[in-house]
């Protein structure tokens, strides 16, 4: 095996004085270490190459590498990025959640509607939006763990159901009036030259990175993803842990919905699929980077940036509207193919 330097947690802080020295024989050989380093950072290198290309390419060079484009790009992608972070939570344990896009849309419409139709305060409306997201996640989790239903089909059904409820709640209309102006103001404000929403994503990324790679709970999630029966027999409460990932993912999708409302200033009667698929693509792309073969928070963000930077560059160079989905799809296929070729992909179970 040449792929010997998978470092499950490589970015952890240095140990204190209690740290032992690495014993001889536990270190990988220099060549395989170099290979691992290249593998972990391939997507990041590709991202930088794409940025460099569009900064030099004459068709896009005057607009692409400007702070205003960077600001627009990051602001617009923060919603997808947040949803992508939500998506990897169940994926780590081997379960799909296709309803997260619809949960985000539900939260967005509900937060707007509660302010617009029911005159609720901003804080309360946001709390309900996020709370409903967590609640739907809890229902998904119970269906998948307690009743052992297939996560693929269950969450697809939930997504369809929520899409219908959104149509019923909004009457198919966009909710424009009655939204507390503080929310859109937050959505368009900047801090240190970057949109504020970017800092929300940053916070969520750090939190998720910590949870997945720096806590025993995160470790047990990867163990479940590897082999749920083995995990059970080393004392992991498998059902409870999987359920928790669905709840956390639902809550994070709820936050995504609120953030989307803040960015757009209005809530459309949309079922959220347009958000979900780029998020899934980013999650799978992210599983080829940083910790190759495993879904991880930092890799996911690199995946989001890679796709969005490439699409932005293409758009600025004059490519048509179809370029974006074509690129998204192609990137996803290449990502899945690559991780399969690396022989490390575990084939996410369908629960």
């Amino acid at each position: 095996m040449s792929l010997t330097s998978t470092e499950h947690v490589d970015t952890g802080p240095a140990d204190g004085p209690d740290a032992g020295t690495t014993p001889p024989g536990t270190a990988a050989s220099p060549s395989s270490r170099l290979k691992g380093l290249a593998e972990r950072n391939a997507l990041l290198a590709l991202l930088l190459a794409v940025i460099a290309f569009f900064a030099i390419y004459p068709e896009s060079s005057d607009t692409f590498f400007t702070s205003s484009n960077a600001s627009v790009l990051l602001g617009n992608q923060s919603v997808v990025a947040l949803l992508a972070l939500a998506v990897i939570l169940p994926l780590v344990t081997g379960y799909f959640d296709f309803s997260l896009g619809a949960i985000a849309a539900t939260s967005s419409v509900l937060t707007a509607g509660l302010m617009s139709f029911s005159d609720l305060s901003l804080g309360l409306a946001i709390a309900v939006g996020i709370g409903v997201g967590a609640g739907i996640g809890a229902i998904n989790g119970v269906l998948v763990t307690r009743f052992g239903l297939n996560s693929f089909v269950t969450t697809l059904g939930m997504a369809t159901l929520l899409g219908g409820l959104i149509q019923w709640y909004t009457g198919g209309q966009t909710i424009l009036a009655g939204i507390d102006p503080a929310l859109p103001r937050f959505g368009s404000a900047t801090w240190l030259g970057l949109p504020r929403v970017v800092f929300v994503v940053l916070l969520a990324t750090v939190a998720l990175w910590y949870l997945l790679s720096q806590t025993p709970f995160g470790r047990s999630l990867y163990a479940i993803g590897s082999n749920p029966r083995s995990a059970r027999l080393v004392g992991v409460r498998v059902d409870r842990s999987v359920w928790t990932t669905f709840v956390l993912a639902g809550a994070l999708a709820g936050v995504t919905g609120v953030l989307q409302l803040a960015r757009a200033g209005s809530a459309t009667a949309d079922n959220g699929t347009s958000l979900l698929f780029p998020a899934l693509a980013a999650a799978f792309l992210g599983a080829t980077a940083v910790v190759p073969g495993f879904f991880n928070a930092v890799g996911t963000i690199i995946g989001v940036l890679f796709v969005s930077v490439a699409v932005s560059g293409l758009t600025l160079s004059g490519a048509s509207a179809w370029a974006s989905p074509v690129f998204n799809g192609a990137a996803l296929l290449v990502a899945v193919g690559l991780s399969h070729y690396l022989g490390r992909h575990r084939g996410v179970g369908t629960g």
């Binding site: 330097s5 499950h8 536990t26 720096q214 082999n227 995990a231």
Partner: protein, 534 residues
Amino acid sequence: MSTTARPPTTDVVLRITGMTKRFGATLALDGADLALRHGTVHALIGGNGCGKSTTIKVLAGVHRADAGRIEMAGSAWSAAEYDARAGRAAGLRFVHQDLGLFPELSIAENFALDAGYPRGLAGRVSWTALHRRVAGLLDNYEIGASPATPVAALRPAQRTLVAIARALQDQESDRHLVLVLDEPTATLPQHESRLLLDAVRRRADAGQTVLMVSHRMPEVLSVSDDFTVFRDGRTVASLVAARPTEAELVAHMTGSADAARAVVRPQPASGPAADAGRGDVVLDVAGLAGGPLRGVDLQVRRGEIVGLTGLVGSGRTSLLKTVFGEHAPAGGNVRIASDRPAGDAAASVPARIAGGVAYVPEDRGGEAAFADLTVRDNLSATVVGRYWRPWGMAVRRERADAGALIRSHAIKASSTEVPFAALSGGNQQKAVLARWLRREPALLLLDEPTQGVDVMSRADIYRIVRETAERGCAVLVASSDQLELCGLCDRVLVLRDGRVAAELSGAALTADRLTALTQSTETTAGPVPAPGDR
């Protein structure tokens, strides 16, 4: 070596010469030779990593050798020319450890999926023709079942025989096939192995040529005519029509006669470990019922190694899983006395673990391994909480501890960061054992601890289990290997009809008596219900 390579010259149906195969930096085969005589059972043996699996994979066309020559059925290939199709055309047929049967389908359908369905009018499947042909084959192979029986309803030995009959189904009088059996008995209990090997022996006496790879020395010795021993990718011994002893074979495998004596079988415990009734009772099971269990009573004391045996379905695995909290008992009591308080709490797996119980399951791949995670992750799976501090996981300390465990348990791994799947079976088992022993359990439950483990790793495992017991751990070992139980245990309990039917210890504890007690109500004919559990 007293025996020099003495390749047979007459009647050779398959001859491999100078086979070499390199994987990266590892030389898996280094000029290995092998010659198979017509109508014999030929055992290919050696420790883990000796190259025997690679040889089988080269013959099956999975790998292409770098150099060497293969001669079969009057044709000869260089390593570069040989592929799966050539092997099949020349008459090689394989039955792997995973039999590749479809358990839900009938025996007849399993045959037809391999060879095609006989067709009748308008392309319709001719079931009568199929069943007639398969019935003939079943008769020929002495498998007492009808073609319509689902494979899942057969007993384990019969399933392997069905796979053999299926592999050889296109054998005709003018065409001789060579059967390659890869670890045929690895997952079979002893009496099933016996049935299977007797059947194989009868086929060989009728002229079938068989090449067999196995880790179980007594079985290999009982059935084989010729032996080829590999070590480090080379043929170190080739014994024709010989009757070697187990110690001789192991001496060839290890290259040292001294090591062989210690390795072959565990020596019965002696000294302070031998006096019974020392130490306090750690595990007290009373009237335990549930699944196949109908009122099991047993006690295990501190520092004691207690064996558990019985037929398939006697409830060995059920008993261990119930004690571990994985199965809820339908009745009775399990009491675990340890210095850790959670032992008597509600019987869930986490509570049992907290109470000082450890369980090494029988199905390593399915219930113990995290194949794609690193060796370090696998070793710390039982103690992850220890490495957590508010500012993150102490990965460096975890890695150092994993390295120390790898050395103290003699696990062969190039680094703590390689995937678990990269380890050989024996080393995986040692790693699973190490994962639990680092918790210093009060009670260690082992289910078939040396299944699919090579002789050398087996010796390591026996040593580790002994040392653990000497430190005061109570050990309960379920096994179908009677010799293993006799050598390792202070006393052995025989499970029958869901109860402890007999107990042997001291001089009365012999493999023959154990076999007799296990088999005493055994019915030898007919299919039994699919064993979901043991």
